[in-house]
Symmetry: C2
Subunit: 366 residues, 2 copies
């Protein structure tokens, strides 16, 4: 069976590495000839909206999925008219637009920061009155890793933010004083069965995920259940098939949903080495109509991203127990080029190793 | 960095799946266009002794290894004159010839069944007097999975065995009444550092490995140490770099060495899912001059081979906790086409699942 993946980055690469042992073959579509997934499958280089390219990509493919949420909707429609596409275009549609996304949260009764659509300078002032004094102005579409965002704390900030982002559909969001950032990865199979990983604690630096701890330390059963209910509500509402990531804020009294990703997610990379079945394998199981695999963690995991550049494999191989994942991407500021996962019996034992890896990474990129 | 692998079967495939996350790329050389490693790298189809093919294979490759011990020595010499080859031709030379192999065991003081070279019918009679009445006549070269072997218990058996195998270099080996078959996987890096996995218990059916349990149940520290000493002696004697598998018999009073494989080995497949670092990753770490990874098991593992044919992924996905490995090889009697590993806290919990998988497999192949 051959799986087509829209996008040929590290998520596609890791999907293939999880799927080849299941007897699957992979084909990727990516505009870049250097797409790193090519190490684990066939790469078609071309534009996502070029129908000749799409036909070539789809020829002999049994099922299609995607590794990024900004797949053009026309592409999703073209594909799904020919080959089963999971998750469906509906998940893309909601995830591509922050306003749609937050509106769904609200409709489903999922707590989310206050928000308002902003399409003009005067709407920004109005939105600031609704949302409150401490806010973030964001593009509704195509933002990731903290890009397309501006903080607003004062009237002058509003002008600056508008100067920076104005002229495209925007959303103003309340800036939440959260205790910590969490995420939950949930998977829904074609038979409607659902599985969820334990909550993961995420730490960002410059808007980019740097460190994930899983299971998130000190999570009560109530909080895990709350996250699971949020995940399930979204899966059912979207008719989502595959893995869905929900980014959450832990706030006094519970959780707030921040955003979703209708795909495997960086905060779930720890599952490759730290869970019985990885998010990548479970995404494939879900979209192929197979039974979902055991999502139990096998210990406590810490996943550290390498951003911009990564230490050499000869350095990394010297860190006892480090599970190394290098994506073979050229170094570039802000780019995720690899990660390492450590698995142990408790966080206390992991943290000194994480700190050493962090110093190793900082030496490379500074 | 690009690694060349002589042979494109499932061992090459699993080496690549372990190496791609380290940032490595793979190229395979195999005479078969259908070689299953092609899913995880570039496949060159051609003969191992054709220099034009070898030149194409070696072009741009940084290091070469092999996934089967019957690589022609002329190939190993041609390759190693151009690119670093690990393990070296010396390991191949010894492993390719049962007489060489057993002679090395003897020279190193490693207990092994009695044996004698047999090149003529009269030498067979003489050998039977030395070795004893219950023996196995084997081809010295190219035997695997029980092929090229004949049991001898009587004078008539000797005639039959000679009729079957005579006319090529043979070895007669004492048939040992062992308690069980074990194996140990050891790895030696380029800096001479050594790592070893726990002893594995192996069960064969029709001469083909069917089930491995690791760590082997009820192993004393003395026995593990004895196996480790055997492994270390062989690694040092051969100047071996990479993983080496030693097949052993447990006998009253200790262990006897049966044979070696100078490569990753079927009885080490459990390490993919059941150890911190797999035999495949450690083989690559060893040959690339990296630090060897942690060989600790993460629980008790049971690995079941699928021979001839394998259940469908849709059936296998329904077995909770089963780590599925299908090689995408066509069904054929006696052929290893996949395996499943189960990892748990104790064997008692694993065995019912193993039995269910065994029944599933038997239904397919019967």
């Amino acid at each position: 069976m051959r799986i087509g993946i829209l996008g040929g980055g590290q998520l596609g690469r890791m999907l293939a590495l999880a799927g080849i042992p299941l007897g699957l073959q992979f084909r990727f579509l990516d505009p870049e000839a250097s797409a790193c997934a090519a190490d684990a499958g066939e790469l078609i280089v071309g534009d996502y909206t070029d129908t000749a390219t799409l036909d070539r990509f789809l020829d002999g493919v049994d099922c299609v999925t995607y590794e990024f949420e900004n797949v053009p909707l026309v592409t999703a429609e073209y594909v799904s008219a020919r080959v089963p596409l999971y998750p469906s275009a509906r998940s893309l549609e909601v995830a591509q637009d922050r306003l749609e996304e937050k509106t769904r949260f609200q409709a489903l009764g999922i707590p989310t920061p206050r928000f308002a659509a902003v399409d003009s300078r005067s709407e920004l002032d109005e939105a600031l009155r609704i949302v409150g004094g401490s806010a973030i102005l964001k593009t509704r579409r195509l933002g990731y890793d903290g890009k397309g965002q501006a903080r607003i704390e004062s009237a002058e900030d509003a002008d600056t933010a508008w100067g920076q982002l104005g002229g495209q559909p925007l959303i103003l969001e309340e800036r939440i004083m959260f205790a910590r950032e969490l995420s939950i990865l949930v998977a829904r199979a074609r038979d409607n069965s659902i599985a969820f990983y334990p909550l993961t604690e995420n730490h960002h630096r410059d808007g980019i995920l740097r460190l994930s701890l899983a299971p998130a330390p000190g999570i009560t059963l109530d909080l895990q259940n709350l996250a699971t209910r949020i995940g399930h509500a979204l899966l059912r509402d979207l008719g989502h098939v595959g893995v869905l990531a929900v980014e959450l804020f832990q706030v006094p009294g519970g959780l707030m949903a921040n955003e979703i990703a209708p795909r495997v997610h960086n905060s779930g990379h720890w599952t490759i080495d730290g869970a019985v079945t990885s998010q990548f394998e479970n995404h494939l199981r879900a979209i192929l109509g197979l039974t979902l695999g055991d999502v139990s963690p096998i210990g406590r995991s810490a996943m550290l991203n390498f951003i911009g550049d990564a230490p050499d494999i000869s350095q990394l191989s010297g860190v006892p127990g480090a599970h190394v994942h290098l994506y073979r991407k050229d170094a570039r500021p802000g780019r995720k080029v690899g990660h390492v996962t450590l698995v142990g019996a408790d966080e206390a034992g992991l943290m000194p190793k994480v700190a050493a890896l962090q110093r190793m990474a900082d030496t490379i990129t500074s």
